[in-house]
Symmetry: C2
Subunit: 239 residues, 2 copies
Amino acid sequence: MCDDVLMATTTRAANRAAMESEIRRLGREHLRTYGAAGLSLRAVARDLGVVSSAVYRYVPSRDDLLTLLLVEAYSDVADSVEQAMEAVPPDRHRGRLRAATRALRAWAVDDPARWALLYGSPVPGYSAPAEQTVEPGTRVVAMLIDEVARAEADGVLQCRQQDLTAGLRSDLATIRDEFGVELSDAALVVATTLWSTAIGAVSLEVFGQYGANTFSDPAALFDVAIERALTPLAEAPRD
Amino acid sequence: MCDDVLMATTTRAANRAAMESEIRRLGREHLRTYGAAGLSLRAVARDLGVVSSAVYRYVPSRDDLLTLLLVEAYSDVADSVEQAMEAVPPDRHRGRLRAATRALRAWAVDDPARWALLYGSPVPGYSAPAEQTVEPGTRVVAMLIDEVARAEADGVLQCRQQDLTAGLRSDLATIRDEFGVELSDAALVVATTLWSTAIGAVSLEVFGQYGANTFSDPAALFDVAIERALTPLAEAPRD
DNA sequence: CAGAATCGAGAGCACCGCTCTCGTTTTCTA
DNA sequence: TAGAAAACGAGAGCGGTGCTCTCGATTCTG
């Protein structure tokens, strides 16, 4: 009896857990295959062998499933970047940044649809709930800023001060506070520019802007663009 | 009679022309409002005061309308960039490139949905026909490359040669041929990096990756990122 | 063990892209 | 200028979408 009750209890809960994880899995799969706007709950239901209305027991709406996958993707790419950075010694700032951007690109190339979900055009009619997406969504750029800050602290960042508008100065101050990090305006500009360049280069490649068969070695092109963005950082020995 | 015939003749043709331009206009409007994936021929038909099947007399399919708007957008942004560049004297290469990227950003900020159509995630299930989109789609980057090439020819481009892989060298050679322009590998890297940075910075801003109220002056941030990408170019007098 | 919560199925609503047919109107041509 | 041909708009229809509601059946719980 007790066993029965426990069985029964776990049966329900286990079924629910299995269902939810299966929906996520199929969601990822459909995202990969059909893209964000092509994500269809009915199709997921079909693959699940269940009628369309049934999935609404587990997922409030299509947009909520999208949010789920969005948060998951942000976390995945951030984990991937983090892992790549940590594989390089902490004092090799340039090497760590290089590894970070390479991991970013590799993740995107491996799953273009999820990259599109994160950094592509917003899905029409869908706006990601900030309270769920901001934290995982800022992890990557936070790591870049942090690394540049540590490079500056170590005195290996050589960049001439640019003329900045008062508005921009105050914006940069806000960001500094937000990420809780100490670095100069110039260093912060280096970090955000690196970020822009990386996002731009990856998106151009992944979204097919280079044309079908233009580059046989897009990774090499990506690297030289990143190296250009990294010029203010001194090369560490054996970097 | 002759008048009648002419009237009649023009009535048909004029009606068709008016219809087609109205569909384009409504297409642009819907694109702006609902995004690429939200572009619906039925909705256009409704706004046109006509039954849905009627618009198929003028547009073969939804995707063809999308292609139409895509080509139009590529041409618009290229025109805008071209105009901005031509407003700066031909010898001020850095100033011209600055003006070009600023025009690019201004165009995108003014119409984010069309920017998304050009440089955002591809619309699922839709792939732009290369024979129609490649030419207008490469105009902007062609202008950037051309300007950098002329800067190098004028001897105002100072960039140290990077180590490039053999594959990348041959890719760059292909591009040089494609655009029919003479410039060094290093200069071509400068140009493509500038392009990446510009696209990345604009997309980050327009797609809302900076967060809702992070930057009060995103144009200033864009400018400093571009200036960093433009460092290899000497400043012209009074630039 | 009975009441409550949960579940899957199914019908239904409004929307989508797209195709086909059917009268009407306009244009071309003999 | 009269008749053939082309173009046109309306409407019905097909299969797809997200999402809501109801209705029995199952499962949990007090």
